[in-house]
Amino acid sequence: MTAILEASGLTKIYRRGREEIRALKEVDFTVEEGEFVSIIGPSGSGKTALLNVIGCLDTPSKGRVILDGTETTKMKERDLVRLRREKIGFVFQQFYLIPTLTARENIELPLLFSRKGERGRIEEILDMVGLSDRGDHLPGQLSGGEMQRVAIGRALINDPKIILADEPTGNLDSATSRMIFELFRDLNRNGLTLVIVTHNLDLARQAEKMYTLRDGQMAGCERPDLPGNGRDGRR
């Protein structure tokens, strides 16, 4: 297997007034192609900071990120736009759907920016996220789980190399959360690489690999689906 994402020595320092917040401290992190990875940790542990840095939404203070063979840390914003557009799909906790666009239009939205005309894929994706009969509904007419499915569909439309999800079930009840994770597992079985940040341990355990982040440092990596193979320590 080849690594689709390699982060090494990632450090992220925010400044809030005079206070210096070290959100990430020398984090090394690798994701292989086709892997389903979860990152777990208490709030303030740096999960979101890590996701934003590897997703090219933020730049690290130190260290480097190689995504699909390209180093992103020193890229210009213009190239980062293209990278985000072509290789990364984002899913957020608050869904961030546009309320006056239908489910289908919300999924279609990234195509407007990538200037791709393949609208044929929209129906395929609606079907993939289990919303083929809900395409014409507005977000207000959908349940939380359905809204997150729309957001996942939107992340898939540009056929990304990797999906990054930040607390995708944070606003959902546990039954719905399990269904969303089921969907992630299905997508993963079809070959998609997934990195999911969560603080829900049960769900995190459904991933192939579960990283624990604590105080901005990698505290461990488990392979929950391989019994007997416990903690293998810091990578």
Binding site: C56, V81, R85, G89, I98, L112
Partner: protein
């Protein structure tokens, strides 16, 4: 889906705010539109009124100020007179084609319907001279002869107001003599519609001004000689010669300050409305930073977001411009009434002139307003880094 549909759907998220912003633009544009329409229309109407007076030079008694002479073409009455002998002197000047004497006087008549005393204006004229000055005059019935007694011709509007018909006999003058309405002028669209026309001698008799005239309207054969003829006319002791150009200048001066005040009001209204739009846009951009972060995360560039904001702004101002133009056209008579009340000299006809050019201008202006107001918010939102945007931009 394209940027326009996305912009429309975004605007529909805050219908109230969008509606109010559009209305704000509409009011500004309708004020701009009406005032420009009024201003151009005013010039056109003033020129038309000058033309309809028919003369190039007006001979007025010495000492009569230009302002009074200006009002005269409107039917104003001045209490100074020329002698009929001056007419011959003017006629003998080289270059004078027609010299038409005119005696004006005013009387008040109680209007039964409203109980008010309304002013009526009488013109005593020499009919052949007058018809040369105003060749467009048409009459229902007939014109009188200069030596006829107890006859008159009335303007169309006056006839309608007083229910006069051709052939009607009515008491007229201080001794309530029986006058016959021999003719009613076809509508001219100017002050002539409101006047009583009498043979000059009859007017002099009724007003006890035998041998007197108020003014002489002079038509010059060669327009290049207007100035020279006026100089010659001034040599007659009683006469002051006022050319139409001078009258125009006087009226333009009289109304100039009122009109520049109006223009200042428009400009201020425009600036206020521009800042209003700018403020609304900036507010909505600030509220939506997280959404822009999401859009960047799903592949939008800064330029894409700027384009989206720009499209939203342009939709608002274009719709506002459209609505404002419609409002201005629909409400033009109200605005005209208001403005007429403010101007010291207003032509009688409607002076709102709505031209395709003006409609195009106000629409283009509203689009321009959109570009000016949208550029900063669009730039600002496009400059946000995804992280600033995601975290809400302002920390």
């Amino acid at each position: 889906m394209n940027f326009i549909t996305l912009a429309v759907k975004n605007l529909m998220r805050r219908k109230g705010r969008t509606g109010l912003t559009i209305l704000g633009v509409a009011i500004a544009i309708s004020v701009l539109f009406s005032l420009i329409a009024l201003n151009t229309g005013y010039e056109i109407e003033l020129n038309r009124e000058m033309d309809s007076f028919g003369a190039h030079i007006l001979a007025v008694p010495k000492g009569c100020p230009y302002e009074a002479a200006s009002l005269m073409i409107h039917g104003g009455v001045i209490p100074k007179y020329l002698n009929i002998s001056d007419l011959e002197a003017v006629r003998s000047i080289d270059g004078v084609e027609v010299a038409s004497p005119l005696l004006m006087y005013q009387f008040y008549k109680r209007d039964e319907a409203t109980g008010q005393n309304n002013p009526h204006i009488v013109y005593g004229i020499k009919i052949d001279d007058m018809r040369e000055i105003k060749p467009w005059w048409r009459v229902e019935g007939r014109f009188f002869e200069d030596d006829e007694k107890k006859v008159k011709v009335v303007g169309r509007e006056l006839a309608e107001k007083e229910n006069l018909t051709v052939g009607q006999v009515m008491p007229f003058g201080p001794h309530r003599e029986d006058f016959t309405v021999v003719g009613i002028l076809e509508r001219t669209g100017d002050q002539d519609d409101l006047l009583h026309f009498l043979p000059l001698e009859e007017a002099q008799r009724l007003s006890n001004k035998e041998g007197k005239i108020t003014t002489i309207s002079v038509k010059v054969g060669d327009l290049g000689r207007v100035g020279a003829v006026a100089v010659e006319m001034e040599k007659i002791p009683d006469i002051q010669a006022v050319t139409m150009t001078q009258i125009m200048g006087t009226i333009t001066n009289l109304t100039g300050s009122a009109r520049s005040l109006l223009m200042t009001v428009i400009s201020i209204a425009m600036v206020i409305s521009a800042f209003g739009i700018l403020n609304t846009l900036l507010m909505s951009v600030n509220e939506r930073t997280r959404e822009f972060g999401m859009l960047k995360a799903i592949g939008a560039s800064g330029l894409d977001i700027g384009k989206m904001i720009m499209a939203e702004t342009l939709i608002i101002t274009a719709l506002g411009g459209l609505l404002g133009t419609v409002m201005a056209v629909a409400g033009s008579t109200i605005i005209e009434g208001f403005v007429k009340g403010m101007l010291p000299y207003a032509p009688l006809g409607s002076f709102i002139h709505i031209t395709p050019e003006l409609v195009a201008f106000s629409l283009l202006f509203s689009v321009g307003l959109g570009i000016v107001c949208g550029i900063y918010p669009a730039f600002k939102s496009s400059q946000l880094t995804p992280m600033e945007a995601i975290r809400g931009g302002l920390e």
